[in-house]
Amino acid sequence: MSTSSQLLSRRSFGRLAAGVAGAVGTGALTACTTGGGRPSADTPLRIMAINHVWSQAIRRRTEEFEELIGRRVSMTLLTADQLASSYNVKLNASGTDVDVMMVRALQEQLLFAHNGWLADLSDRVAQDEEFAWPDFQKAPRDASVSGGRVLSVPVVTERPALYYRKDLVEDHGGPPPTLEQLMATAQELTDKRKGFYGFVGRGQRSGAVSQWSSFLYSHGGDFVVGGRSGIGTPEALAAYEYYGRLLARTGPPGATNMSLEQAMPIFAQGKAAFYVDADAIYSSFLDPQVSTVRETVGFAPFPAGPAGARPHNIPSWSLGISTFSLLRDDAWEFIRWAAGPEMTAELQRDGIPGARTSVWSDPRSLASFPPDLAEAMRLNAERGLGYDRPRVLQVGRARDIVGRPLVAGILGNDVRPVARDADAEFAGFLVRDNRHKES
């Protein structure tokens, strides 16, 4: 009797142990299969992308591509943070479950190149005449090259647009052509008590830096001047103070917490007169579901500062191939198709700004944009610099350093000491970053 109970207990204990081992084992197995394995004909081509109008448009057309190469395509759309952390995780593990990567050339490329995560596309683009690599605009094309090798292909470009309320600026002579006038008009139109703001824009430290870059350039400054920190120069200081004053005096409360997602609805709901942000988001203001300013929104080029109108014209999103991908040829076929002249033209006709000169010079592709927006984009592109953030390995840290005086200005504090300190910090950072680049 007690013997059987003894055996029973041993057996049940054994069963438990077996169960545990089984669970852990199957867990490890599933983990292994996600990592390795040779690709079969059934393995889909895996694309990781940002949740963006471009990705959605491409996803609608993937069937056409699947027929072309005879392989399924699996596209995952994520938010920017999720995408970044996914790359971190998968590429650190040398994962083979990513083939085509949608990356921000100016944010991640240098670091990914340093880590050896992006496949070299130089030969492919050089030998493919149909793809017409020289057709890409110079600035985005330059940003795609790291260490002399082509590591990505730009598919979406971005410039800052000055969104404004046509009905409100009528009496002020239309949209302001200079930054000075922008400040003056915005101040006149602001009525904080009624909850109406002359200007709204990004104020959250890191997100604001990229939009602020245009203000910096138009004041004659730059992040790095002659290889050294440029954020302590009088021009940079003027730009910091300008943006800070603009948001502090004419902007909504809590501006320092606002990224694109928080700032855009304020203009869309008719609570602001001016808004500076990426021109790619213009369609949100024409969407009756989220916007009350559909009839009254106007689009203007970036105004001129003391050093002229010098906005940024950047490749916001590009396609790259993971070095660990086992389907590199198919991945390249995808890039050929998605970033080729035909598709770029087709998408631009649908309102997604690409990076090909031939498409930009085709009047048909501009027809899909509202006429004043098309003109604004054209002018911005002509005058634009090809980067909107420091060109370093650790862009994240750089943006945090450079953004500090910006936040100080928005909070209404004295910018000068903060800018001096940030300048010193940035100088030290550049030394370390250069050392990393060389290692």
């Binding site: 007690s2 109970s5 003894q6 207990s9 041993r10 204990f13 438990l16 545990v20 669970a23 852990v24 867990g27 490890a28 599933t30 983990a31 292994c32 996600t34 990592g35 390795g36 949740n51 995952t76 994520l78 938010t79 943070d81 999720q82 952390s85 996914s86 995780v89 998968k90 650190n92 593990a93 040398s94 994962g95 990224s259 997602e261 928080q262 609805p265 989220v290």
Partner: protein, 284 residues
């Protein structure tokens, strides 16, 4: 400190006591409201339209809609995350109990305090200190993004937690019962299995329930180790914030959905949960 006080007339004392208990009742009521109202507000907002949510003058009197829930379920991620959280929670809790309960018996029954405190050090060490090397190691093993790593990292929290609770339970069991069983012929393990374990069943249930709840709520581990396929509920919620920051209704609906299991557990298992949370405290 002892001073003589002239005895207060009985009636006045009674009056004071009733007034005192009235005050006490009201205070307790107010305090309860303070803790309950924000949650009620969240539940209410989940059933409001976005226009109503962003209008602070709309209070608790409105006609409810299920639109928000429909939206977030259609978006697909939230149900999958709840499934993931359930899987990770159940497996990690079961595995942790299998490891921790016998260990707690060993420590509690035999007074092995030093060894016990070694394991409880795990409660003090900040998880973030281990996250970096875990990330390093698991990344190189290609395990990041798998259920395995989520379960393993959760067990790191659950094992000490279950032990913490169960040690006091086992320590409180009279040794004589087990001794008697031993003289009756049961093996040492048999005594554990047939005497100690059943007696500690309520404690095991409590500890497991708590471990499951903490697993459900775990944010940092999932943030780092889960990918879009194995995402658990707190991470989905967090992504929702940045992704749909103007869809307050949807946000509240998502937050409500993931809080419902907790509320259920609280209502049904309040006695056990409180016992579990407070065990070990009175021993000092």
């Amino acid at each position: 400190m002892s001073a003589t006080v002239s005895p207060v007339p009985a009636a006045a004392r009674l009056r004071r006591r009733t007034a005192g208990s009235w005050l006490r009742g009201i205070t307790i009521g107010v305090v309860t409201l303070v803790f309950a109202l924000p949650l009620v507000w969240m539940f209410a907002a989940a059933f409001k339209t976005n226009v109503q949510v962003t209008d602070p003058s709309v209070g608790l009197w409105f006609s409810p809609t299920l639109e928000n829930f429909r939206n977030i379920v259609e978006a697909g991620q939230i149900l999958r995350s709840m499934g993931n959280s359930l899987l990770v929670g159940v497996v990690s809790t079961v595995l942790s109990a299998v490891i921790a309960v016998p260990a707690a018996w060993a420590v509690g029954r035999f007074g092995m305090h030093r060894t016990g405190s070694l394991i409880l050090v795990a409660r003090i060490v900040p998880a973030i200190s281990l996250l970096v090397p875990w990330y390093y190691l698991f990344a190189q093993m290609g395990l990041v993004g798998s259920y395995t790593v989520l379960i393993l990292s959760q067990m790191f929290v659950s094992v000490p937690l279950i032990m913490w609770i169960m040690i006091s339970f086992f320590a409180g069991l009279p040794v004589e019962l087990e001794e008697a069983a031993r003289t009756d012929g049961l093996s040492a393990f048999g005594a554990f299995r047939r005497i100690a374990l059943p007696l500690a069943a309520p404690g095991t249930a409590t500890a497991s329930l708590l471990a499951f709840v903490f697993s459900w709520n775990n944010f940092m581990f999932a943030l780092i180790f889960a990918d879009d396929r194995t995402q658990t509920v707190p991470v989905t919620l967090f992504n929702f914030i940045s992704y749909a920051s103007t869809d307050w209704g949807g946000l509240m609906a998502a937050a409500t959905l993931i809080t419902v299991p907790v509320v259920l557990a609280a209502v049904l298992g309040q006695k056990y949960l409180v016992a579990g949370l407070t065990s070990g405290a009175t021993k000092g």
